[in-house]
């Protein structure tokens, strides 16, 4: 188990990156604590696989360092890093039994056969694979295969971290939940550092203690799931997390109010002060969950025309339009909504303001 630290770590596939756009992974500093469960979340091509490959040693970064428990591992080959990895699809040694698959990493390291046996049985017990130990690995279901892949990492006592590269992609939906529970349970039991790469926000938010959100090679926020929801540091986090994502509106400042889509909206004095100090392109962001219906002319409200109301069981999703902008609001299922015009409160305590896509102050 290890504490993983990145120091000015960056990677560009081409030589001499001139601007930040040339990086597959923009230089950054980050610390992942020993025994934590971390998720790397972002769309395809955001650099999360690059970061994962740097951790596992399949890729040597073009700049900066990776440290495990303070030891510089940047140049260390994969086999000496004590990393385990579960891939997107099950990677097994087809001709071997489940037992041999689990024993393989230990036997390669010349561990005594008696210890191999004890360790494999111990891990098989945790993963509920004991009954299948004598079976050929290739005949098992996809979720059992992924458990074996995971088991090959767990059998090693010296393993520093286990990396998961979208491990639930090939698993049936009803097994996904079970397997994720299993992962959490193992995490509690063995206190391992787990790193989970995914583009599925539900997986990331339910699995991890801390989520690292990436886009275009940049780490835009690292934080607890609630923080990502309530206080996104970047418009991308607001947009990517949540379903539907945050509402964003470009704004101008006009005296003691802001203007969004030709409507004047009153904002809190402190927020206004922060906005006046910020430069760059300003945006107001509010989650659909925080938008509320209000009365005509209420502070912080805009007048919008209802476009659509979708009933989602426990809530309903309102889509409305004002001055060419769309606003989505998640409202209580019991709220009575008549079509036509509604006043929606966009500026309130939960509202976040962004300057050049970065959160302002607070």
């Amino acid at each position: 188990m290890a504490r993983i630290e990145f120091r000015n770590l960056g990677h560009a596939y081409g030589p001499n990156p001139a601007s930040l756009q040339d990086y597959a992974l923009q230089p950054m500093n980050m610390v992942w604590e020993d025994g934590g469960a971390y998720a790397l979340l972002g769309p395809s091509g955001c650099g999360k696989s690059t970061l994962l490959n740097i951790i596992s040693g399949l890729l040597v970064p073009s700049e900066g360092q990776v440290l495990f428990d303070g030891r510089d591992m940047t140049q260390m080959p994969t086999r000496e890093r004590n990393i385990a990895q579960v891939f997107q699809f099950p990677v097994l040694y087809d001709t071997m039994s489940v037992f041999d698959n689990l024993a393989f990493p230990l036997r390669n390291r010349k561990v005594a056969e008696s210890e191999v046996r004890a360790r494999v049985h111990e891990i098989a017990e945790i993963l509920e694979l004991t009954r299948d130990l004598k079976q050929r690995a290739s005949g098992l279901s996809a979720d059992a295969k992924q458990k074996i892949s995971l088991g090959r990492g767990l059998v090693r006592k010296d393993v520093a971290a286990i990396l998961f590269d979208e491990p639930l992609t090939v698993i049936d939906p009803h097994m996904k939940w079970q397997l994720r529970q299993k992962l959490k349970q193992i995490h509690h039991q063995l206190k391992l550092t787990l790193i989970y790469v995914t583009h599925d926000q539900v997986e990331a938010l339910t699995f991890a203690d801390e989520v690292v959100v990436m886009t275009n090679g940049k780490v835009v926020q690292q934080g607890k799931p609630e923080a990502l929801f309530v206080r996104p540091d970047h418009t991308f986090v607001g947009y990517f997390i949540g379903s539907p994502g945050m509402n964003f509106y470009p704004l101008q400042i006009d005296g003691d109010a802001v203007v969004i889509g030709q409507q004047r909206v009153d904002v809190d004095a402190a927020q206004l002060q922060a906005l006046k100090h910020a430069n760059g392109e300003l945006k107001l962001g509010i989650r659909p969950e925080f938008v509320e219906l209000t009365t005509a002319g209420a502070p912080g409200a805009v007048s919008a025309n209802v476009v659509q109301v979708q009933h989602l069981g426990t809530s309903q999703l309102l889509t409305a339009e004002f001055g060419g902008q769309i606003v989505k609001a998640r409202l209580d299922a019991s709220t009575r909504l008549d079509g036509g015009q509604q006043w929606l409160r966009l500026a309130k305590a939960e509202t976040i303001f962004f300057s050049n896509d970065e959160r302002i102050g607070r």
Binding site: S56, L58, P77, T78, R79, I83, A84, Q85, F87, Q88, F89, V91, Y93, D94, T95, M96, S97, F99, D100, A103, F104, P105, R107, N108, R109, K134, Q135, R136, S149, R152, G153
Partner: protein, 296 residues
């Protein structure tokens, strides 16, 4: 709903039926027909039952041709399969080097079989051929036309040169289909180069290797053109393989009955051996590893 019942459906299988009939059943039945008759002249023939089969089975020349054939095919597999795998493993995986290696490797496959025979006939000659000349300058008494061992080895080396590329191409295709994640997992698991070959590459290549073994077995078992051009079956009968012996019988002596019986036996031997090889290779991949099998 009232479904009409009629026999129109038969028309739909007619094309398949005709194709199979003309391509396989009719020629085969012609041979079966010849094999049970004594054809004295085109107008006159006598039904002789299994007489030709008995005669062929007792033919000692056939026995020795069969033995030669078995040894030859066995040697072909023994050399070409490992060599093909080795070539595939040492080839560059991608880029222009890979393409270049593939083209160079495929060259012998593009040469007509009788030309292959001619090339080696000249190549092996001590007076004008590069191979024969070098060997004789090295002090070896090499002459494929008079020494039967030399002739044998020359035919074998020629076949290896001609057909190993096919095995290599198949094995290469098999290797390329292995996803990178397997190699990454092996690195993470600390597997040695040998373990990667034994537990990832070889199992993943099994499908194509079964095809390679069957193709090489069947082809080598039917080898005709190259030794015919190179040695003409000699010296003596040392490189007379089954096909050539059959041709001598059927065309040379015009013994259609025995030749037909022989053809059928030949066909059945290939079928049987292919079947055995196939099943053996399938079970070698599926069985024997089940419970904590010893590890190298």
């Amino acid at each position: 709903m009232n479904k009409p019942y009629n026999n129109k459906a038969w028309f739909f299988i007619l094309p398949v039926f005709l194709t199979v009939a003309f391509s396989a059943i009719i020629p085969l039945m012609t041979v079966v027909n010849y094999s049970v008759q004594d054809i004295i002249s085109p107008e006159q023939s006598v039904f002789v039952g299994l007489e030709w089969f008995r005669a062929v089975m007792r033919d000692s020349e056939l026995h020795s041709a069969l033995l030669r054939q078995l040894i030859f095919s066995f040697c072909v597999l023994l050399v070409q399969i490992p060599l093909g795998i080795g070539l595939a493993l040492s080839m560059p995986a991608q880029g222009w080097k890979s393409s270049a290696a593939l083209v160079i490797l495929a060259m012998p496959l593009l040469i007509p079989w009788n030309v292959v025979g001619t090339i080696w006939q000249i190549f092996g000659r001590a007076d004008i051929g590069l191979g024969g000349y070098v060997l004789s300058r090295l002090g070896m008494d090499y002459n494929y036309a008079s020494n039967s061992l030399d002739a044998w080895i020359t035919v074998l080396v020629m076949d290896v040169w001609h057909w190993t590329p096919l095995v290599a191409l198949l094995a290469f295709a098999g290797l390329r289909s292995i996803p990178d994640a397997y190699y990454q997992a092996a690195q993470i698991d600390g597997a040695s180069r040998w373990a990667v070959f034994r537990f990832i590459q070889l199992p993943k290549m099994r499908g194509v290797l079964v095809i390679a073994v069957l193709l090489r077995f069947m082809d080598s078992f039917m080898i005709y053109t190259e030794p015919f051009v190179l040695t003409g079956g000699g010296p003596g009968n040392s490189t007379t393989f089954l096909s050539q012996y059959l041709t001598q019988k059927a065309v040379g002596q015009f013994d259609l009955g025995p030749a037909a019986a022989f053809s059928l036996i030949y066909f059945l031997i290939i079928l049987l051996l292919s079947f055995i090889l196939y099943n053996w290779m399938q079970s070698a991949g599926n069985g024997n590893q089940a419970t904590g099998a010893p590890h190298e």
